[in-house]
């Protein structure tokens, strides 16, 4: 089976977010980039597990500049066989990214396209559904379980307050949530091997974005926390009712 895992780069989870150029650009200075945790922990690891069980190849794909290569190699160190980087630069939105990936999907003969449920940077959850639509493949989002039986996938998908159990035949697109797999730490052999695995750079089609970010903003600073003595804990309820008007 041929697996394609979309991987995105995001600022490390401890990053202090700030902006430059009159709040029109994210401040990259000193930012440590990591693989988007959902792409890495759930989508990539589950693809590797399925490959290990049933055979096949796992390719990772990223849209971005050569600066991304070092982080892409981490996905190879975890176990992906090869990588594709679509060499697009400039401000891309989810649509432009999805459309570039869709071009690779159309000619790649993949059985399954996996990605995380969302990025922790833009929190949009857009790319999977867009790839599916652009390639006319079925889409299952927020899957927490995936098992294969021949070419049929047995899946669980999160819904509000519950689960749905589904079946779908390959090829399809799937976004992965908690429950899918456990994070893997690359070992020395993986890290050494990653250096020589193929990382193929492809020229983008140059698909135009449909949206632009005009400005960023940090949330207003919180006003000071009102402290209540533990002995008078019950006062909290009165404050929540009369002051915060929340209960």
């Amino acid at each position: 089976m041929k697996f394609l895992v979309c991987i995105s780069l995001v600022p490390d989870t401890t990053t202090k977010i700030s902006f430059i150029d009159n709040d029109t650009k994210f401040n990259n200075d000193k930012v440590q980039w990591i693989l988007n945790p959902y792409d890495e922990w759930y989508a990539l690891v589950r693809a590797l597990e399925l490959k290990e069980a049933n055979g096949g190849t796992v390719t990772v794909i990223n849209v971005g500049s050569a600066e991304n290569d070092q982080v892409i190699r981490k996905a190879l160190a975890i176990g992906a066989d090869d990588a594709i980087r679509i060499d697009a630069t400039g401000e891309l939105d989810s649509f432009a990214i999805a459309a570039e990936i869709a071009e690779v999907v159309k000619s790649g003969g993949y059985d399954m396209i996996l990605l995380g449920k969302e990025t922790i940077s833009y929190n949009s959850s857009n790319v999977g559904g867009m790839i599916a639509e652009l390639t006319d493949l079925p889409f299952v989002s927020y899957a927490s379980k995936l098992d294969m039986n021949g070419s049929t996938a047995h899946l669980e998908r999160d819904i509000e307050g519950g689960k749905e159990i589904l079946e779908v035949d390959t090829p399809f697109v799937i976004s992965c949530a908690k429950g899918m797999a456990e994070a893997r730490i690359p070992n020395m052999k993986g890290i050494m091997g990653a250096k020589t695995k193929p990382l193929n750079v492809v020229t983008p089609k140059g698909i135009a974005p449909l949206t632009t970010v005009v400005k960023y903003e940090l949330p207003p600073a919180k006003s000071a926390c009102k402290m209540i003595a533990a002995e008078n804990a019950e006062q909290l309820i009165e404050l929540l009712h009369n002051e915060a008007k929340i209960i």
Binding site: T13, N123, F139, V214, A230
Partner: protein, 322 residues
């Protein structure tokens, strides 16, 4: 011109988030001289749909084709896109529920209509829409460069605004695309407690509770308040609590009206998923716990003493309300 909003159904009912979507669409429609029209797909009685009129909807289009009773994002997106074209909608509003997160991008790609995923406010005069980014650590103002726009609205951000009005219900004939997904089974938690992503009141606890056997006092407080329970990541990782309760940057991101954090230190990754809550209460025995910096109300104390007091106070308060 119209603003089309999607009416999401679950178990033969209109989902709460759809009333908010109706309010959002209606307010945007009236500020631009347009009409808010809803589209409902699947089995529901029209009486329930007409309630959306109280939230400003002028008309609800309804396809009661049972093919829509099972969710398939492609199928729903195709149907909604078709209706959007029919009614000449220039904006499509979807609640950013789990289903909405799958439908909105599909419609966007299908119609080549720019999407703002996770709007927290109405478009401004220049049609720029505010959305959360970096897991609650910042906001972005997004301009949609296409004539037709798709906006998905974060649940509990805009609010459902009930007024009075009536919506006409019209049957629409849509031929559903054949689904390639087979739904085998749907399970939902029973009871009246709202699922975490929709909850207005949340009581959450962390490693400070020492072990799963101590969650009784957390559940008691949640029950007294009518709140949903949540937890920090390490607590779910060691299976003290179920995975779906894990909130934070790598768990569920929530924005309830009230978030009570008990025995949770307030790590940056935890805060990322909860800092959009309207009011945050922190109970922690360590006065230096970072969570106090993000809190509106704080109690320094031992959870095992403080929480039962809170529960008793909530019960007394509820009794006094009757």
């Amino acid at each position: 011109m119209a603003i089309l909003f999607f009416v999401e159904l679950a178990e033969g009912k209109v989902k709460k988030a759809s009333f908010e979507a109706a309010s959002y669409a209606s307010e945007f429609a009236s500020s631009t001289g347009k009409e808010a029209i809803g589209i409902a797909l699947g089995t529901i009685d029209d009486q329930q749909l007409s309630d959306l009129g109280n939230y400003g909807a002028k008309k609800i289009l309804h396809s009661n084709n049972t093919a829509f009773d099972n969710f398939d994002a492609n199928q729903f997106a195709k149907a909604i896109a078709e209706v959007a074209t029919q009614v000449n909608a220039d904006t499509i509003v979807i609640s950013q529920t789990l289903a909405g997160k799958a439908i909105a991008p599909s419609i966007s790609a299908r119609l080549k209509a720019g999407l703002v995923a996770g709007a927290v406010g109405l478009p401004d005069a220049n049609l720029v829409v505010k959305k959360g980014v970096f897991s609650g650590k910042a906001f972005a103002y997004v301009k949609v460069d296409t004539a037709v726009k798709v906006i998905s609205v974060v649940p509990n951000s805009f609010g459902a605004k009930k007024g009075s009005g009536s919506a006409g219900i019209e049957a629409v004939n849509i031929t559903p695309a054949s689904s390639r997904i087979t739904v085998k089974e749907v399970t939902r938690q029973s009871g009246d407690i709202a699922p975490l992503p929709e909850a207005e009141l949340v009581v959450s606890a962390g490693r400070g509770m020492k072990g799963p056997e101590n969650w009784g006092i957390i559940e008691d407080l949640a029950t007294a308040l009518g709140a949903t329970t949540a937890c920090s990541r390490p607590v779910a990782d060691v299976h003290w609590r179920p995975h779906h309760e894990h909130v934070g940057q790598t768990g569920v991101a929530i924005r309830p009206n009230l978030y009570i954090a008990i025995g949770i230190s307030g790590a940056i990754q935890h805060l990322a998923g909860v800092n959009q809550s309207k009011v945050i209460v922190v109970v922690n025995k360590d006065p230096e716990a970072p969570f106090f910096k993000a809190a509106d109300y704080g109690i320094v104390g031992d959870a095992f003493e403080v929480v039962p007091k809170l529960t008793a106070a909530v019960k007394a308060f509820k009794a006094s309300q009757h």
